[in-house]
Symmetry: C2
DNA sequence: TTCCTATACTTAACTTGTTAACGAAAACAC
DNA sequence: GTGTTTTCGTTAACAAGTTAAGTATAGGAA
């Protein structure tokens, strides 16, 4: 007899937990690939986002990579030391950082991408490309849910 | 000219990032509710999972709440001090912990559940109940993706 | 100009995520 | 039964998540 007055939707039905479980199932395959290339998930997000643009402010990078500003501040130091990205001051606005992907960052992306695409292909093969597409569509829409 | 030899699926198409973004959009609404009740997301997962069963091993709890064993070890201390859960040794197997939801944990669930359900209802209203159901179905299926 | 507010990070403090290694107890050989 | 292998949980070490506060610069109002 554990049921409280208000029956909470049981945890299996919780949308946040369903998202978490699905993400974990997928990342369990991606993580070893990235580890083989000496980076973690967050660094991979950062350099990939950065590679799509020639340069970017730290704030925009944080937003696009879904990384909080304090985390990015800490990561930048390590990424620069590894030679994966480059930082410069924005001459027009002294508050801003101008971040750029470095050659070594591009090389890392080039070398990890085939394995990464293979994992994505494995997922598609198992899950069905239609399901993947539809899931992505629903996720993109849900991501627009306004924060209050 | 940033494109490497192998064009990586751009980040907008990355399934892990889409899952992350969607989860963040949803959690941005749940987090304030939980904060108002003095707990964080992970603690909320733990006590809810625990409330569904009368007692549970730490390992099973960790699995169901999607929390890694080392994290749970750390959390247990705080949860016991707050009186939300209770811990006992398993007499039949000295390795195992027997975890139970405490009265204060049930009370917390009862008091936070209405607001939590309201957020879920807001999501359904905005996203469409059909979409929510379909999304949950796809996520559940994807969660079965085998880890190698 | 001066002052007020907003923006772009940074720092700090604490919690959780992640991996690896460790200790103790159970299960399974033989 | 002794020895080996699993399983359960803990500890350790470092990175990232989260919130709040702080610093410097920019923008705008007066």
């Amino acid at each position: 007899m554990t049921a409280p007055t208000q029956t909470p939707g049981d945890t299996q039905k919780s949308l946040p937990m369903a998202l978490l479980r699905a993400r974990e199932a997928v990342m369990a395959r991606f993580r070893p690939v990235l580890a083989r290339h000496g980076i973690n998930e967050q660094q991979w997000r950062v350099i990939r986002v950065l590679a799509e643009m020639d340069t970017m402010d730290a704030t925009e990078l944080a937003t696009r990579a879904n990384i909080l500003a304090p985390s990015l501040t800490r990561m930048i130091k390590a990424l620069v030391e590894q030679g994966l990205i480059a930082v410069a001051k924005n001459p027009a606005d002294a508050r801003r950082l101008t971040l750029t992907i470095a050659p070594r960052g591009l090389a890392l992306i080039a070398s990890a991408t085939p394995e990464s695409l293979q994992v994505a292909a494995d997922i598609d093969a198992w899950f069905g490309a239609d399901n993947t597409a539809q899931l992505r569509h629903l996720l993109d829409r849900l991501s627009q849910f306004p924060p209050d």
